[in-house]
Symmetry: C2
Subunit: 479 residues, 2 copies
């Protein structure tokens, strides 16, 4: 009988291999390879599942201790609680749903997607029943992404800030009307963008001997091994800032991954703890660093070298432009001041759907009404409304909340780090390595040994608290 250590090593080899195939598919694989690639991935996933739910695995858990035992037991229980038929039905249903979602978007016709969403909700509720929950089905799903989080508490947190978030957004959008930003758009040759992206990522501490940046339509960060973190970005040929901020975001994810203990790569102690903490790192480098004055004091001259159209623009004109805000119906295009409104909206709708309080057929109206209340205008169609994101169609229910948790955590961690004199004085000089060192010590190195809320408590002195975030937004966007 294989030992738990052997099993964990094997599972790690299989899942990192699977991640490599996934990365290849998103970056370079020719279109014709899709069918066979799906078979390879299904095979690898099947083997992982078999090992993770084996008797040897269960019995081996007893020989472990501490947080690794706790987390692996949790994972084992979740994996074994789902009947095989439900797992297969889930995968089959979401395959069909993804195609229907694409079609619905093209035809701008929610009804095409509605029956699929209804099925996916039914499956999600059934999964939640198998996993078990205290208050509501959303809890059981959220646990996949945010250990220890309770939906009710997240809702309370969001409810406590939604009005102020909306006010800040409104003020930011209004103030932005008089901020010129046309000059951001100018010739941005691919090579110049790649040069700046790479220099910035490197200066933030991203180790290119253990990672790289490629190009994809939808940027992401994925880890293929203990010393192999792959980021991706996309390029706009007249807007270098779009790719740069995207790269800083993914670099934040990448720095977290590179900061995890490599020798524990096969254990929870070597893995990121939650999406809400992961997103805190990406948003930290994208927004708290990337849109700050010290960052641009250091990097603006280099940007002007690479993009000559900026040479006549002063830093004092440039900086407000990269912090300019506008309402958009589309989440992925939203800026810092308006982003959370999108998340709060979807969280509410998703929660109501899962609890059965909202019917699928009522989603478009519910979406548009809630959107109008938050943004002051209605999306012009469902493609720009409730059909905009792919996640539901993939059965990805229960994790949008983590985006806003990430924003809130990022400000709280940043504020705590800045209390450290070394961090803050270096930051003021455009040196962000002490900030990284602080994050490595207080966040990265813990892997999944602490629950997210315990990690926040230990790092900052309190659990997730929205005040630093509101303070940050107010100071950046309202005068």
């Amino acid at each position: 009988m294989p030992s738990i250590q052997d099993l964990l090593q094997e599972i790690t080899l299989l899942s990192s291999t699977s991640a490599t195939l996934g990365w290849d598919q998103e970056t370079y694989a020719p279109s014709g390879s899709v069918t066979f690639r799906a078979k390879q991935l299904a095979y690898l996933q099947g083997r992982i599942h078999k090992l993770q739910t084996s008797d040897s695995f269960r019995e081996g858990l007893a020989s472990l201790a501490g947080p690794n035992q706790r987390e692996l037991t949790h994972q084992y229980e979740r994996a074994t609680k789902l009947p095989q038929e439900l797992v297969e039905l889930d995968s089959e249903t979401s395959s069909l749903a993804k195609a229907a979602w694409s079609e619905a978007r093209e035809k701008n016709e929610f009804d095409t997607f509605a029956p699929h969403l209804a099925k996916l909700l039914e499956i999600a509720r059934e999964k939640a029943d198998h996993w078990g929950y205290e208050d509501e089905p959303y809890d059981a799903l959220l646990a996949e992404y945010e250990r220890g989080a309770k939906t009710r508490e997240v809702a309370t947190l969001f409810d406590s800030i939604d009005t102020e978030l909306a006010q800040i957004a409104a003020a930011a959008v209004e103030a932005s009307a008089s901020i010129p930003a046309d000059f951001l758009h100018g010739p941005a040759p691919l090579e110049a963008q790649q040069t700046l992206n790479r220099e910035v990522a490197e200066s933030l501490g991203f180790d290119f001997s253990q990672g790289r940046i490629d190009t994809t339509a939808h940027p992401f960060c994925t880890t293929l091994g203990p010393a192999d973190v792959r980021l991706t970005t996309r390029y706009e040929d007249h807007d270098f800032a779009s790719s740069l901020f995207g790269v800083m975001h993914e670099t934040g994810h990448g720095l977290y991954e590179q900061g995890l203990p490599a020798s524990d790569f096969h254990l929870p102690s070597g893995h990121a703890v939650s999406l809400g903490i992961h997103e805190s790192q990406s948003r930290l480098w994208e927004n708290h660093v990337g849109r700050s004055r010290p960052f641009w004091e250091k990097w603006y001259p280099r940007a002007q070298e690479l993009f000559p159209h900026l040479r006549g623009i002063s830093l004092d004109d440039f900086l407000p432009a990269v912090n300019r805000c506008a309402y958009s119906p589309i989440r992925v295009e939203a800026d810092e001041a308006t982003y959370d409104l999108h998340i709060l909206l979807r969280f509410k709708i998703e929660r109501a759907l899962l609890s059965g309080k909202l019917l699928v057929s009522d989603v478009p109206d519910a979406w548009n009404d809630a959107f109008e209340k938050l943004f002051g205008f209605r999306p012009k169609n469902d493609t720009e409304g409730c059909l905009q994101d792919i996640h539901w169609s993939m059965g990805g229910l229960g994790y949008f909340a983590t985006y806003s948790l990430g924003n809130i955590n990022s400000a709280q961690l940043f504020e705590a780090a800045q209390k450290n004199e070394t961090v803050s004085s270096a930051f003021a000089q455009g040196d962000f390595i002490p900030l990284l060192a602080w994050m490595q010590k207080n966040v990265h190195q813990h892997g999944s040994t602490l629950f997210p809320q315990d990690l926040m408590q230990q790092a900052t002195g309190s659990k997730t608290d929205p005040q630093p975030y509101l303070k940050h937004l107010r100071s950046r966007f309202t005068k």
Copy 2:
């Protein structure tokens, strides 16, 4: 107990996954990923070996029939004949040998590599003993690359042409002295090279929806799935032809792979039959097509568009330049007329080493003496002599012969195809698709169902025969 079909499907999923990891390592993987990647590959290879040598596999062979049964039985027997310790010793020894080879090259010191080569030869002979052979150990190794080939027959074939090959080479080199070719060197921007490479590969029939071209230091072709063939090339910034001919070579390999029956991807009937046939396809497209007048009549105007320095050069001046020859101590830099001399040399030395007739310590002198006899000058050191190729250090003994078999086969297949009126009249017009169709019908579609020599017999009316090749070389290089 899993059926043989299940086992074959699983082996195919594992080995194509392994190929994907290998491709990534050669193309994009960051340097730091090597150690973990080696673990992933060792794990996958271990599982493949376990399945291939399992009782279920052996028992399942009985349920098969025909060539697939024959080939899988052959593979099973070879896999099970080697003791596990020998396999491990082999892999360990070649890991160390590769490092020693690099060091020996850097220091230009054969003695650093010699003890490793001695060990590798011992292991190779032991493997040969386990596999069994009729005449000499080289037979057992060659069988890995060229089913049904006998070393003695290959040697007889090579001995029958070596004098004439040397004469043709000498004549070609002499004649080349008066052929101007400086104009080949001129600005060759990467994008222009990639454009031409892709247009040419596509026009030859390479399907980019099922394949792609990336950049590596050492070009290769690898198959990652039934609809996923990856080629690589390298670029010289002042020599577009170097990359183009490289791409045509790899495209030849790729067209063979794309021409195999995709539904038999898990069976020998869906796999290329031997290196000697594979190389016939790469050399066909590189030399018989790529260095021909009809090819350049069609493509020279496009090359002139992309590389303006060619605009003042007529096709009549250009064509001899791409067929210019010169002696080089380095095999991978050799041109069509001198290439086989390198192969014949290494084949002789390797065969003598394996049979024990040549001692490792005598290799440098034996190499340099034989080289001088063939080329008329001595390599200036061992790095340019017997240390030039990596293959021995990887335990890759027994396959260099297939390079020259490939050259010979390519001319023979080309001559046979040209007897077909559709093929030859299209060829004369710069349309090579009928040539591809002929190769698909007579070579590709057979997979490994025929032995290489039976395939040659069926396709051309005789087994491998050097006369068409000599005729081709004479006509191209001697007047």
